[in-house]
Symmetry: C2
Subunit: 460 residues, 2 copies
């Protein structure tokens, strides 16, 4: 067992003790659990040379990655498009990430400018620092102010049918962006990537893409303004996509993808060339049916920060093949129920709230699976705090005042964990129920409409 | 100057001396040329430590390749899909190549079986050892005998508009195969490859593909039985092609393409993943419009032996993705006018007879540019002889008796080089003129028909 695993085991045991106390379990049961906890803490000290302390995980951990050497690894944080890991219970240090990735912080000045330009309040994800970093967002605002067009591009890797609430973050935000800017939206489903990386057939990966498209459509996108595509399908339907893929592939060497993504000599050539496929939708000529062959329409990409390596590569290539660099808006990672150290995994049913969960499952998961800080401490920036329930509320509770009150009361000890969790349950249950209701309306016919290459409601 | 370059310079000077003698030039002129020849021979001895000897080039030459380490390099022969070089004036040692590549020789027994199965004489390229090697040709004959279908696949990398007579070899032979077996034919034009390897825009490479298609069509193919495609176009037109490309890319590692093709870390990811694109047409599901989704139709690939690395890779992958291995028929290389050491290059106008040459240009090139063995020695296997004029005759003179008489007379000294060349001129002039006449008939509309994805005149 490595330090991080042991750290997690101690944390989980501590949680068990708290639960037993909450449930008013027998003294024997509680004592046994405490004894086990103390033993684990001793193991921890032996292994790490440090005292166990909740919220302060081991300082020396080896990043676990099956994809080769880390490119962004510093102070225990490890971030690439397939692995996000940190030794810090508060989650990844996003300020450091901005410095290392060379992006820009979304500061109050930018948020103010956005609000001025769009004439309305910024989305809660911006106000609360969930989208915290950007590249060239001021160019996009300049374009909007001078009535120059741009388009939105985001995506998802369909690794399973099951999507969790965290997967909605980029789509909820993208929907808002599309509403306020009124521009075309492209959604790429990288079924080819999932086929390459996972033990899946292309048919399975494609099926997941279609199922995931339903959840995306259920976020409320307008079919006249949105094109959703599967790579496996669209590559064979477009006169522009493959040409751009090859152009990008000519301008990126193996050395470069090795450095950016950590690929090695034993990786398949599909993985090695895949970054060009995620890069290509950043260029408007990949969609001649929408942009009428125009090559200078800039692209704005809202995505989680772990996808940035693809677009750093894309921005490097863009001027060399005569295209504008895409602009970006980066979000933080969505924390797993068990803590902010890792990104959630759709393959672990207990790691998150799924879009298919029943109200009862939501209640049970929030009550028994959410890591919480019994002391009730909340970090100044909610999203980087250690209490997962509060973090979730900061994502999904739209009412600013209510959120602020919860924060105050919870910090002061006035509000107990159980009550905090109740607020979260009451926020998530209707959110998921509404999503499920909307998704039911999404027929195969509607999916087909979204996924058919066609002109959108914009003239180029 | 490296040993091979110097060797070629000595050979060229020797040829000049012979030409001067033939032309009955003045004694002064001849003496000067001989003096120059002797000086070059001395240089040669200094550089290589060996006496210059026509037909026996330096034993220690460094293969010249911009694509990384050689994979097939032995006794001075260097063969990969982009470079063919040998230190042997008789050309590449094809028997050795069969052993090294692990293919099978096309022996008399196989030729006899082909003739029995098709009920007619084998093509001169088979009888004369120009197609000399194969993989699984007996499987194809078994299939044909049991009325099981198969299809033909060949291709061309459109690096320029100019094609030379050597480029026709696979197409002349493929035309014959299609006539005798009556099966669908697929022709791939790898404009994406040429874009990746050369200093070309995708538009230029695509234009070359279309121009080359005209020369291919001029070989007499039936539009109802033949599909010609550009990769840049067809990738965006097919629901099957990209799926197969990704399947192949998942099953080939960088280590493998490094070993097979000599790619290095500084090669672009487009080159690294390209082999999958040349492999994919070997599988019938890449052409759902023709084969109706059937995945077990075997493929027979007639090609020059230097393309075999692609198909060794393809055959390795095939069973792992549930497809039959393609069968192959390999041709020797077509010799350059200056000798059999190298493949011709379309970028050197003096290295071959081009399909656009006038009768006068043909005459001049054959007379003054063809390397010939003044002693009139001809190797038993014509194609591996050192006299380029005779080699060309063995490719293009259909009349077996006439060819045999030329061989006898030339070997015995009865026929002089000038007369041999005259025969070649008389063979090439009408061949090229007919080709030019046919090519003129190939309108843009006809090219479009051949290059449109569609059902062919076969039911699957």
């Amino acid at each position: 067992m490595n330090p991080m695993e042991l750290y997690e085991k101690v944390a989980a045991q501590g949680e068990s003790v708290r639960l037993l106390k909450t449930k008013k379990a027998s003294k024997e049961e509680i004592d046994a659990a405490v004894k086990e906890l103390l033993a684990l803490k001793l193991d921890y000290k032996t292994l790490t040379g440090e005292e166990y302390k909740l919220g302060s995980s081991p300082t020396n951990i080896a990043p676990v990655s099956t994809d080769g050497p880390a490119v962004v690894e510093d102070g225990g944080d490890y971030v690439d498009p397939w692995t996000v890991q940190t030794s810090n219970a508060k989650g990844v240090d996003y300020d450091k990430l901005i410095v290392r990735f060379g992006s820009s912080k979304i500061d109050q000045e930018l948020i103010d400018r956005i609000e001025r330009v769009i004439g309305q309040r910024a989305h809660q994800f911006l106000r609360r620092g969930i989208f915290f970093s950007h590249r060239d967002m001021n160019q996009i605002l300049d374009a909007f102010e001078t009535k120059k067009s741009f388009y939105l591009y985001t995506g998802r890797g369909p690794s399973s049918e099951a999507m969790h609430v965290g997967h909605l973050i980029p789509f909820i935000f993208t929907k808002w962006l599309q509403d306020v800017f009124d521009v075309p939206l492209i959604v790429q489903l990288t079924d080819d990537e999932k086929y390459l990386w996972k033990d899946l057939t292309p048919e399975q990966a494609y099926k997941y893409a279609v199922e995931n498209a339903k959840d995306i459509i259920a976020c409320g996108f307008d079919v006249n303004k949105t094109f959703i595509f599967s790579d496996l399908d669209y590559m064979g339907q477009s006169s522009g996509f493959y040409r751009n893929v090859v152009k990008i592939q000519k301008h990126v060497t193996f050395n470069q993808v090795k450095g950016i993504f950590g690929f090695g000599d034993s990786d398949c050539i599909g993985k090695i060339s895949f970054p060009a496929i995620q890069a290509a939708p950043s260029f408007s000529t990949s969609f001649p049916q929408i942009f009428n062959g125009q090559k200078d329409i800039q692209c704005l990409i809202p995505c989680a920060i772990d996808q940035d390596p693809y677009f750093r590569m894309t921005r490097d290539v863009a001027p060399r093949i005569g295209y504008p660099k895409p602009a970006l808006l980066h979000s933080t990672f969505f924390p797993a129920l068990q803590g902010a150290q890792t990104k959630m995994s759709a393959s672990d049913p207990n790691s998150s709230i799924f879009l298919t969960d029943t109200p009862k499952q939501i209640k049970t998961k929030v009550r028994y699976k959410f890591l919480c800080d019994s002391v009730g401490k909340i970090n100044k920036h909610a999203f980087s705090g250690v209490d997962v329930s509060y973090m979730y509320l900061s994502f999904f509770l739209e009412d600013d005042e209510k959120l602020e009150k919860i924060k105050q009361d919870y910090s002061s000890g006035k509000l107990l964990t159980g009550e905090l969790k109740k607020s979260l349950i009451e926020t998530l249950q209707p959110l998921i129920a509404t999503h499920q209701e909307r998704r039911k309306q999404v027929t195969d016919e509607i999916v087909k409409q979204f996924m058919t290459p066609r002109k959108l409601a914009y003239d180029f």
